[in-house]
Amino acid sequence: MAAMQRPLKRTIAIAKQRACFSSLLPSAAAAAAADTVAPPQLPPFDHQPHPYNGPSADEVFAKRKTFLGPSVFHYYKKPLNIVEGKMQYLYDDSGRRYLDAFAGIVTVSCGHCHPEILNAITEQSKLLQHATTIYLHHTIGDFAEALAAKMPGNLKVVYFVNSGSEANELAMMMARLYTGNLGMISLRNAYHGGSSSTLGLTALNSWKYPIPEGHVHHVMNPDPYHGAFGTDAASYANDVQDHIDYGTSGKVAGFIAESIQGVGGAVELAPGYLKLVYDIIHKAGGVCIADEVQTGFGRTGSHYWGFETQGVIPDIVTMAKGIGNGLPLGAVVTTPEIASVMAQKIQFNTFGGNPVCSAGGLAVLRVLDKEKRQAHCADVGSYLLERLRFLMERHDIIGNVRGRGLMVGLELVTDRTNKTPAKAETAVVFEKLRELGVLVGKGGLHGNVFRIKPPMCFSKDDADFLVDALDYSLSKL
């Protein structure tokens, strides 16, 4: 450890010297230096967007402010009017192209307007848009079968819903019914939904309204970077046991975690954490729920599901976002034994498993396989992480680079020792990146983490452009 620290300290010292030296440059010299580095250019892309003749950004914005809830928020000082999408790119009303490094919040998995998915949606829409599960239709069964085939162990029963929040709601209810217990446990820094029940599981004060959140507790986040115990999974797992011993009846309904925290800023869990915790939870009579809303469908590169990176098999898996490349679709997969609890009463979801979304979801699974998107995430993701880590050596303000595959986080801090969130700087760089043509996400409790989770068709050229844009933007601070 000491040996590893030494090179890092030297690098920081060199970086600081460079910074000092830079600040001593005459302004003319600084200006000259700036002129010599040209802004990076978007990779070539063979597509001409349709001419746009709809309402202007100002008109759209005015309507939003007048007719939509005040909580609907937007990114950027000058919000973007996005009118077209193609694979990993988006176009605004002036025809300008942007690299979408956020994918509509980790949702567009195969790429914007992927032709095979569009075809599945339009064909099914022409044939039968909606009929309800009261009658039979082949698409829901076909999709469930294909989905179950991707799951390990006895995770073979699927419930379809319309969002990740709905999926997590259902999973929580199953956990309570199956175990006969009430207490749920989630991680601090987690995001599991914004509905009244899942808001309890969510643990970021910026998302939590002050209403009763039900029987839920939040244990220490096994965050290797900010956590009290670094990468020591056992110490974080002890907090779960401690909570069960003291904060519950000794029995719990379930534990839920994202394998990599999405909204929380692409935080990976300390290695080995889930394995330890799943054991603790099972001994307390609870079930383990893996929230794969963001980490699923091969995004982590090394595995199809995020939980597989921790070597565990959950009792219940929830998914949404990437599952439908943007269609309103979510699912809960569990064992037949656990699933049977839902038969105690009537459970129904009007749009759950509707023909169009099922056909779209099935098409997504096929595209992911055919185009080998998981392997691609491993390949391009590793390359991107490598380049970002190199960037961290050049810029002191980058405190941490983390993630896996194409689920990447870049945390900005003003002080590496204290890990002080660089909120203002993040906002500035965020805007600068947009000007350069990069749309990136923002997360973490303090909004100082760039979330980089592009469509999985993101290429190495895109990765280069993104990193070059970051490098350029950070140099301008």
Partner: protein, 475 residues
């Protein structure tokens, strides 16, 4: 974890430790002959003959007619029929030193004449009428009680128990702040009604029912806690809970200055002031649960929270407040108290004439007999003696507490702090045979709780320590 523990156990079985253990055993053998059977301190009172039902008959009726959840201490539960000062008498007229005080409740001593007189006189005059009419007893007691509290803590609500007091305090905090979330400590005990069960944090006391809007922070336990005596580090967990587990605002933080049921755990130094600041920044209220630590029991102060240099927004109390009469209270500021006028709030027996007359008498006795000072002097002495026992017996892992609120934790391995559950039960029973009634607590049930009536003397302290010494020497 199992492998790790096994490895450590294997390592610990190396010759040097075996030698030490052998030496300890030899020393214990030698000590056995020198530890005399202690005699109860002299007490000039002979109980009248008991003519009521036997212990067996009573136990049979309890099993038949009372809730199966009613538990009892001792293999042969003791049938207590009379009490006097710090002593209790069983059906055979045998005397016991009451080192538990009916669970930190009898503070002036059993059947203290001044308290009994106040109760009898008030009962003969007016037992109950309701606060819908006036009566001087409730007003006089409220005035006397608030004169004991610092700052602007000048408004009293009377209840009939600590649980009720904490329920009310939590309600007040939620109304005042407009927030729902309460933060308490793991290992805390604040009651067992629907609301307070949430704040209580030990699995044995928490039924599997909905408990909403409560968070349990890491316990700032200097002995077992992950951060030792570093109060600031524990306090960060409270900030973490607020940041991640709430909307960023909370209704209140509630804690016992010394955890009673949890095994007499003092909070790490610096913890409460740090948490106080955190809570105030988020607009929350600070509730001090003084149900056990209040009324001079800690010796150095009248209230436990005073040892931590914070002035709470709300203080709850019960147990010692009435020397055993069903009485509890919530004291807060006029500003905060105002919230209960938003709707109707009423408590039928709250502040009834008999209980408030008794409460006032208790306050007078504590002052007149200087029981806080006595708790300090005798408590310090007893703690010293218990600490000396720790030096003598490996089985004692920790001695802690203040005044006459003391805990002795038994462990089979000092390094691993393995709870000595079986040994604790054995010692408890043996001490009863010697004439000492002691309490038990802590998550593992391996902590002796010593919370006797505050009229406890040094001779009583010697007796308790000697009885423990003899019992441990025989193991």
């Amino acid at each position: 974890m199992t492998v790790f523990l096994a490895t450590r156990l294997v390592l610990r079985r190396s010759p040097p430790l075996l030698w030490r253990r052998s030496f300890s055993r030899a020393a214990v053998e030698a000590e056995k002959d020198t530890v005399a059977v202690p005699s109860l301190p002299l007490f000039d009172y002979s109980p009248p003959p008991y003519a009521g039902p036997t212990a067996d008959e009573i136990l049979a009726k309890r099993r038949e007619y009372l809730s199966p959840s009613i538990l009892h201490f001792y293999k042969n539960p003791v049938n207590i029929v009379e009490g006097k000062k710090q002593y209790l008498f069983d059906e055979k007229g045998r005397r016991y030193v009451d080192a538990f005080g009916g669970i930190a409740t009898v503070c002036c001593g059993h059947c203290h004449p001044d308290v009994v007189e106040a109760i009898v006189n008030q009962t003969k005059k007016l037992q109950h009428s309701t606060v819908l009419y006036l009566n001087n007893a409730i007003a006089d007691f409220a005035q006397a009680l608030t004169s004991k509290l610092p700052g602007n803590l000048k408004v009293v609500f009377f209840t009939n128990s600590g649980t009720e007091a904490n329920e009310l305090a939590i309600l007040i905090a939620r109304l005042y702040t407009g927030c729902h979330d309460i933060i308490s400590l793991r290992n805390a005990y604040h009651g067992n009604a629907a609301g307070t069960m949430g704040a209580t944090a030990q699995s044995i006391w928490k039924f599997n029912v909905v408990q909403s809007g409560v968070h349990h922070a890491v316990n700032p336990d200097p002995y077992r806690g992950i951060f030792g005596s570093d109060g600031e580090k524990y306090a960060r967990d409270v900030q973490d809970i607020i940041n991640f587990g709430t909307s960023g605002n909370v209704a209140a933080f509630i804690s016992e200055a010394i955890q009673g049921v949890g095994g007499i755990i003092e909070l790490a130094p610096g913890y409460l002031p740090a948490v106080y600041n955190t809570i105030k920044k988020t607009g929350g209220l600070f509730i001090a649960d003084e149900v056990q630590a209040g009324f001079g029991r800690t010796g150095s102060h009248f209230w436990g929270f005073e040892a931590h240099n914070v002035v709470p927004d709300i203080v709850t109390m019960a147990k010692g407040i009435g020397n055993g009469i069903p009485l509890g209270a919530v004291v807060t500021t006029p500003e905060i108290a105002e919230v209960l006028t938003r709707r109707s709030y009423f408590n039928t027996f709250g502040g009834n004439p008999v209980c408030t007359a008794a409460g006032l008498a208790v306050l007078k006795v504590i002052e007149k007999e200087q029981l806080q000072q006595n708790a300090f002097v005798v408590g310090s002495y007893l703690k010293e003696r218990l600490t000396a026992l720790k030096d003598k017996y490996e089985l004692i892992g920790d001695v802690r507490g203040r005044g006459l609120m003391l805990g002795v934790e038994l462990v089979t391995d000092r390094e691993l702090k393995t709870p000595a559950k079986g040994e604790t039960l054995h010692v408890m029973d043996q001490m009863k045979e010697l004439g000492v009634l002691i309490g038990k607590g802590g998550y593992y049930g391996n902590v002796f709780r010593i919370t006797p009536p505050l009229c406890f003397t040094k001779e009583d302290a010697d007796f308790v320590a000697d009885a423990m010494d003899l019992t441990l020497s025989r193991m």
